[in-house]
Amino acid sequence: MSAVPMEHGLLLAGLLFAVGTAGVLVRRNIIFMLMSVEIMLNAAGLAFVVAGSARQQADGQIMFIFILAMAAAEVAVGLALVLQLYHRFNTLDADAADTMRG
């Protein structure tokens, strides 16, 4: 068994996730919002690895690898959206793009 209790690892994951959620809610700069989403994804992966380590199964690490692939795809699309937002509105404020056409 791992020397660190599982609860402490899950507590760390929960803290990081809470900080990331607060970042998404509080910040309006879209780059900071993307960074906060990365923090949240990382915290979710941390929870998986902690649980896998406590149960001595490799499945937790595999879920982390899938989350990693998902985060890479998400950040590529998200940063392309950031560039589009900046070219169209000349700002990084997410509230600048609050109207839809159509």
């Binding site: 937790g60 392309a80 070219h87």
Partner: protein, 173 residues
């Protein structure tokens, strides 16, 4: 071995809070990289060395480089020199450096113990991970490859400058 985990955990929480509260995106990025490093050390302390390496190579390497590129592309060039001077101010890099130094001390401590492995922690080796990943989870690997392809195409499509809209919007502003 518990100390390794708890010190890294405290650094992870501190640096993550700093990410959310910084005003300058580049400062936040420094702290975000530090947060990823400390989470990688947490993985190592939990006996998962493979994902610790992946965390550094993919998260702190590839994904953070994307962020750096985009922030550098967006920053206007005129005020570059003053900002460069401002970044060389010790106030900017002292915080990340101190926290990174603590992480480095932990790493050196682990390496100095000789084996490069933690005692008292049952490790899950890359071999076990790979056997399960390409056995029961092979469908997930295929789905991940399709997701990455979709992300690639989506980023290419969105990243193109669309003709027609951009100059018109620019004139209005």
């Amino acid at each position: 071995m518990n100390a390794l985990f708890y010190i890294s955990a405290v650094i992870a929480v501190i640096s993550t809070i700093m990410v959310v509260t910084r005003a300058n995106p580049v400062h936040a990025l420094l702290y975000l990289i530090l947060s990823l490093f400390s989470v990688a050390l947490v993985f190592f302390a939990l006996g998962a060395p493979f994902v610790a390496a992946l965390e550094i190579i993919i998260y702190a390497g590839a994904i953070m480089v994307l962020f750096v590129f985009v922030i550098m592309m967006i920053n206007p060039g005129r005020r570059g020199i003053e900002r460069e001077k401002q970044w060389l101010n010790p106030k900017t890099w002292a915080g990340p450096s101190i926290l990174a130094g603590i992480l480095l001390a932990e790493l050196i401590y682990v390496l100095a113990r000789g084996s490069g492995q933690l005692s008292g922690v049952a490790e899950i080796t890359p071999k076990e991970v790979a056997i399960v990943l390409f056995g029961p989870y092979i469908l997930g690997v295929e789905l991940a490859s399709m997701l990455l392809l979709a992300g690639l195409i989506g980023a290419y499509h969105l990243g193109r400058r669309s003709q027609g809209t951009t100059p018109r919007e620019g004139e209005h502003l």
